[in-house]
């Protein structure tokens, strides 16, 4: 089947699953699982093609001007991820049906689970930066719905929101980063295939660093690197299958996937190496060691996942062929054992009724198959032969040994707590004396142990026959490091007595020692300042801080006082004018002399100004109206001086009417409030008004320096009789040449009439009917 329909089938299955669940509640889980298995097989069958160098490409519609194209490409890296997504999905789907059985939201679960799966497939198969982003966001949304699946609990709601905010905020940064990358790469730069060939252009571009920073922000939030890691701990509110699938095997690997995918185009620079190694290393060490102090089984595992994600980012940052190879093997091994362990944790929670590490012990004989799965996974996690985890860890150490000793030291220090966590989460609950638990533990149903046991066995089998992984991983490495000649990966358990083996021994011994000393360490940690801070306090603090800032801003800007709104608006306008005058004015152009003034004009002007002041200050209502009338008539007189008698007439008629209407309205309104504004406020307003007056006066003085313009309207004068058969030029312009305005004008008057009628005369019909 081509790639597009494969992804589409996932979304269609998501839509169909809730219906199926309603019709056949008991069979849905098996059906979904079989569907995923079919997808898995369909992908697995393409492996020979990929190995022979064929890359499947498919295009389903595009928006060429946007750079967006629904292009898909199946190469080694995509295939590796596609197999992980569908393979582990098969086990998880089978598991979920029993784990959530009789949960009222199971239909909803299937919908989001399958939608997530399809989005994740789209993400890894996309061959276009913007298409990749589209699926990236969809995975965030699906993850949000799945974390908040048990939304009756406020903790689940909060965790869901946190994960969404962090990943979507990172996604927004990623969007701009990808836009920048696409733009920098030039023509066709949004296609990943093209992008890989533009490495030099991108590295030399002045915007390389901002683009890289934005892309990395997206990848780090998704893969829960420091300081964005706490959402993953909160995400443990999700049901166990979700944690196993999204928050260990697939979703959180999307960030790592992006880094691997963009490595050929963006990677290999100093900035890339330093950032990834520092952030990844810090995450690995910090989160790895803090795993020891977690109380909740799932949170212990989540911390260990963070540690692994840090290691992967660090390895991609190192960027040597050996480290990329190690990253890919480690990624596969981790997906297998961590997925298994999360499902085991779900079994324990489901059957024993608690996830508190301290309360769990001696489950072994009562849950033998779950215990088997747990021990197999713990073996892989601790990196003990013959599990695949051992080969992965050896690879990591060998990659580290190519670099300065501090890198290797960090890797060993990062792995030691992982060994201890394998003991805490994979061994400790099952061995030792049995304790009392809320529920009487017994073995989980077959659908719930089959998946984890299969994953555990797969982890060991692949460790024994690592050659089986050879073609797949080889293809993936070839994708990530295209220039490197392809050579066998030398996956085998026994390498002879190498330095890496010695480091393995050191980390194993160290891990066992830490495991033995975990209680004293825990007590020591509890005494540290800051140990009591709740998970995600940084996120809450940022959110609270943002809210406080926002609140303060709202209180300043939107206090509800009309005067303050006006004041701010007017001050800004004045500021703009003042700034322009300061920067653009040419005061030396001011006209010299003042010209002569007619006495009448001075009188009228003075009258207008005085009347305006009176209108603004008047205590009596009628006085204010009268003053307004004087202003209007004064302006009409001024119009007359300008040789515009028709305008003057109109103005005086309108003014007279306005005054009459005002006076009529005034009679119906209450008396003035004698209250005066407080002195400082008054002073401020006066100052602002004076500043405004000064600026405006300066402005118009400059304006008068403008030379008169040629008579633009000669045209109208010449044509009014001829074309419009009119003699009053203004009338002609009004009615004939300016038909558009006249329509607007007529509409204004109609609107005013209807509006006044609507506001004053219409009464709601129900008013009389109400009690």
């Amino acid at each position: 089947m081509p790639l597009g329909p494969l992804i589409l089938s996932g979304f269609l299955a998501a839509l169909a699953a809730p219906w199926l669940h309603r019709a056949l509640p008991r069979r849905t889980s098996a059906a979904v699982s079989l569907f995923l298995l079919a997808l898995f097989v369909s992908f697995a069958r393409r492996l020979p093609d990929i190995s022979s160098g064929t890359v499947s490409l498919a295009r389903y519609g595009e928006l060429p001007r946007l750079g967006f194209a629904l292009d898909f490409r199946l190469d080694g890296l995509a295939l590796l991820f596609a197999l992980l997504i569908t393979g582990i999905g098969t086990a998880v789907a089978l598991y979920a049906g029993s784990y959530l059985h009789e949960h009222p939201g199971l239909g909803r679960f299937y919908f989001f689970f399958l939608a997530f799966m399809a989005s994740m497939l789209g993400l890894v198969l996309a061959d276009n930066l913007l298409a990749l982003f589209l699926f990236w966001e969809l995975t965030s949304l699906a993850s949000y719905a799945l974390i908040g699946f048990e939304h009756q609990r406020s903790t689940a709601r909060k965790a869901a929101l946190q994960s969404l905010l962090v990943t979507v905020a990172g996604g927004q940064a990623l969007l701009v980063g990808l836009l920048l990358v696409g733009m920098m790469a030039g023509e066709g730069g949004f296609s990943l295939t093209t992008l890989d060939t533009r490495r030099e252009v991108l590295h030399a571009h002045p915007l390389y660093l901002p683009a890289l920073a934005l892309v990395l922000l997206g990848a780090f939030t998704k893969s829960a690197q420091l300081p964005f890691h706490s959402w993953l701990l909160g995400a443990m509110e999700a049901p166990a299958p979700v944690s196993a699938y999204l928050h260990s095997a697939t979703l959180v690997k999307a960030g790592v996937y992006l880094l691997l995918r963009l490595f050929p185009a963006l990677g290999g620079t100093l900035a890339w190496e330093v950032t990834l190694v520092c952030v990844g290393g810090a995450t690995m060490l910090w989160c790895g060691w803090l795993a020891l102090v977690q109380e909740d089984l799932k949170r212990v595992l989540a911390q260990a996942t963070l540690c692994v994600l840090g290691t992967l980012v660090l390895l991609v940052g190192l960027g040597t062929p050996a480290s990329l190879r190690a990253a890919l093997i480690f990624l596969v091994a981790h997906a297998l054992y961590k997925g298994g362990l999360f499902l085991v944790a779900g079994n324990v929670d489901h059957e024993a009724g608690t996830r508190r590490v301290a309360a769990l012990s001696g489950l072994g004989w009562r849950m033998p198959l779950t215990t088997t799965a747990a021990l197999l996974a713990a073996l892989a996690m601790a990196g003990i032969a013959p599990a695949l985890g051992f080969i992965a860890k050896e690879g990591v150490y060998e990659a580290g040994l190519e670099h300065p000793a501090r890198v290797t030291t960090a890797l060993v220090l990062g792995f030691i707590p992982t060994v201890a966590v394998a003991g805490i989460a994979g061994v400790r609950p099952f061995l030792g004396p049995a304790t009392r638990t809320p529920l009487e533990p017994h073995e989980a149903p077959v659908s719930m142990w089959l998946g984890p046991v299969a994953l555990g066995i797969l982890g060991v089998v692949l460790g024994l026959v690592p050659g089986a992984l050879e073609p797949l991983l080889g293809d993936a490495v070839a994708t990530v490091a295209p220039g490197v000649p392809r050579r066998p990966l030398e996956l085998e358990l026994w390498h002879g007595f190498t330095l890496a083996l010695g480091l393995s021994a050191v980390s194993l011994a160290g891990g066992l020692a830490i495991y033995a000393a975990r209680e004293p360490l825990r007590r020591l940690y509890a005494r540290l300042p800051g140990a009591r801070l709740p998970t995600g306090w940084g996120f809450s603090a940022v959110l609270e801080g943002l809210k406080k800032v926002a609140d303060a801003q709202t209180r300043v800007l939107q206090d509800g006082y009309l005067r303050h709104y006006l004041l701010i608006t007017w001050s800004v306008t004045l500021g703009l004018v003042g700034f322009t005058l300061l920067t653009k004015a040419r005061w030396w152009l001011l006209p010299p002399g003042w010209g002569e003034v007619h006495f009448v004009e001075v009188v009228v002007a003075t009258l207008v100004v005085l009347a305006t002041i009176a209108a603004a200050r008047a205590e009596s209502r009628l006085a204010a109206v009268a003053a307004l009338g004087v202003v209007g008539l004064g302006v009409a007189l001024l119009f007359l001086f300008f040789g515009a008698p028709d305008l003057a007439l109109t103005q005086s008629v309108v003014e007279a009417l306005t005054v009459v209407v005002f006076a009529l309205v005034l009679l119906r309104l209450p008396r003035y409030h004698p209250s005066r504004p407080p002195r400082p406020a008054l002073l401020r307003d006066v100052l602002i008004s004076l500043a405004g007056g000064g600026l405006m006066t300066g402005l118009v003085l400059l304006a008068s320096a403008a030379p008169p313009h040629p008579h633009v309207s000669d045209y109208f004068v010449e044509h009014s009789v001829e074309a419009a058969h009119g003699h009053n030029i203004v009338n002609v312009i009004l009615t004939d040449f300016r038909a558009l305005d006249t329509l607007g004008e007529t509409t204004v008057l109609a609107v005013a009439a209807v509006g006044v009628h609507a506001i004053l005369k219409l009464r709601p019909r129900t008013e009389e009917e109400e009690p």
Binding site: L161, G560, Y565, A750, G755
Partner: protein
């Protein structure tokens, strides 16, 4: 000698406005024959049909050859025609949501719909205005209609307070705009935008202060209408106090029309000015508007008010698009008129500007269908009794909506995702287009700030979704009445939000036509 003659072709661009004015007159006349208790269900339908007809005509005009009409007072180009289409869409959807809203309040009257039609006619005329006084008059048509609509419901203190605040601040900004227009007229001796270009270049040399102050005052007037920070103060109070369907029309239509006029004025006179001026002006406004708009919305628990703040933030993204328009080859002359197909000789700058323009237009359409839909959901949830206490729009009203009305909850979730710019919705594509053109224009820093602020937006939009899907239904929640017209509008908006988000094909094709322009 050539005599100026107006042919029927000159009136063609006015056709949508004329259709709406005629529709308004029919509604007003029909009101004469009705008693207070007559059924008025036909009025909303009639208004919506009028809007649809006007919208179809506008869409047809998109493919007309661009030209100046009415002796240059108006301009028929794909830009104005597409904007007319957008405001008609806003009107049609807002009208459908008003029928049930008004009936519940006993205030369903022909005058209301007539005023809505007049306002939209004003918006459509504003989009084609190509002269400062024409611009002012048409701006007043839509402003005065919206003042009246804001105070239309007379119960309680909110409508009149909103109306008064809107009126005073609006009249003030009109005065500022007019004063700026007068200064520009003084500097150039003409009020025709196209005719202003040459004298303006001259005036910039002889009297720069006059020109720049005039341009800035005009910009300030428009900044008020598009609710750009710091001219936005009226927005939340007016949006909260106005009847919800009117708020929907204001947030989508008034904004679209004001952006049309703003872009037209500055695209036309911009080349005469210092090339840095429009760029600096719009970048600063965009920056302030995006940051403040999003911050203002964060603490807001009143959903209607939150949507008001969010509309400010969206004006910020649009201003980013406008800034991108002017950042591409600043100072180079170009025109909104222009060929409807990009020739092979088009320069990269012309292509980039066409992209920016297309981004603005698509964003306006995306915002219109989303915001009107969101206000539609708000309007069906609010209850008149709670309005005076201000609790009618509290987030609590959305608690457990997914269980009570899954359809409404789904629609609202789609609108919220679209406003937040999350795929696969139309809002995502709109943001993508705007950000893309901003990045191409080199406004990297501004785009990063846009992205960070929109990440903050995710918080307040998705909080609504959390309440709908993850909270239990509150005790004693009031019954939710259904209304087929509102639900029809919600279905149309939701389908548009989702389908255009997945397959924007047809619209982008129109926009290829609408946004094309050539350097002259």
């Amino acid at each position: 000698m050539n005599l100026p003659t107006l042919t029927s072709a000159d009136f063609f661009p006015m056709l949508p406005a004329i259709i709406m004015v005629v529709g308004a007159c029919i509604l007003l006349l029909s009101e004469v024959f009705l008693s207070a208790h007559s059924s008025r269900g036909y009025q909303a339908v009639l208004t919506a049909i009028t809007a649809v007809i006007a919208g179809v005509v506008a869409l047809k005009m998109v493919f007309e050859p661009a030209r100046e009409v009415f002796l240059g007072f108006g301009a028929l180009d794909p830009f104005s025609s597409f904007l007319t289409f957008v405001v008609c869409v806003a009107l049609a959807l807002a009208t459908l949501t008003s029928a049930g809203f008004l009936r519940k309040r006993g205030a369903e009257r022909g005058e209301f719909y007539a005023l809505m039609l007049f306002a939209t006619a004003g918006m459509s005329l504003l989009a084609i205005s190509n002269e400062l006084i024409t611009l002012f008059v048409n701006l007043e048509v839509l402003s005065i209609s919206t003042y009246a609509l804001t105070s239309f419901l007379r119960r309680g203190t909110r409508p009149s307070e909103a109306g008064f605040k809107y009126f005073i601040l609006g009249a003030f900004s009109s005065a500022v705009l007019l004063y700026g227009a007068a200064l520009l007229y003084g500097a150039t001796g003409t009020t025709h935008l196209t005719g202003m270009v040459l004298p303006l270049a001259n005036a910039v040399r002889t009297n720069p202060a006059l020109v720049y102050t005039g341009a800035l005052l005009v910009a300030a007037g428009f900044a008020f209408k598009v609710a750009a920070v710091p001219f936005h103060m009226w927005t939340p109070d007016v949006y909260e106090g106005a009847p919800t369907p009117v708020t929907a029309l204001m947030s989508a239509g008034v904004k679209a029309a004001a952006f049309a006029a703003l872009v037209r004025v500055f695209v036309t006179v911009g080349p005469g000015l210092d090339p840095q001026l429009p760029l600096t002006l719009f970048s600063t406004l965009a920056l302030l508007t995006m940051v403040a708009g999003n911050l203002l919305a964060i603490p807001q628990r009143n959903v209607k008010r939150m949507l008001a703040y969010s509309s400010i933030a969206h004006a910020g993204y649009l201003l980013l698009g406008v800034a991108a328009l002017f950042a591409t080859a600043p100072g180079e002359a170009f025109s909104l008129l222009g060929s409807t197909s990009l020739g092979t000789t088009a320069t990269p700058q012309a292509v980039a500007r066409a992209e920016a323009l297309r981004g603005i237009l698509f964003y306006l359409l995306a915002y219109t269908v989303t915001a009107v839909g969101a206000f539609g959901v708000v309007s069906v949830l609010e209850r008149r009794e709670d309005e005076e206490r201000g609790t009618a729009w509290d987030l609590e009203r959305f608690s457990g909506l997914a269980q009570r009305r899954p359809g409404w909850a789904f629609a609202m979730a789609a609108f919220m995702l679209s406003l937040a710019g999350i795929p696969p919705t139309v809002g995502f594509l709109g943001k993508l287009l705007i950000f893309r053109s901003a990045v191409d224009a080199g406004l990297i820093g501004l785009t990063i700030i846009a992205v960070l602020s929109s990440a903050a937006g995710v918080y307040y939009y998705l909080r609504v979704v959390v309440y709908m899907y993850m909270r239990p239904v509150p005790e004693g929640a009031h019954a939710l009445e259904r209304n087929w017209m509102t639900e029809f509008a919600l279905v149309v908006s939701t389908v548009a939000v989702v389908v255009l988000g997945i397959a924007p094909g047809p619209v982008t094709e129109w926009l290829v036509q609408a946004g094309h322009l050539l350097g002259r």
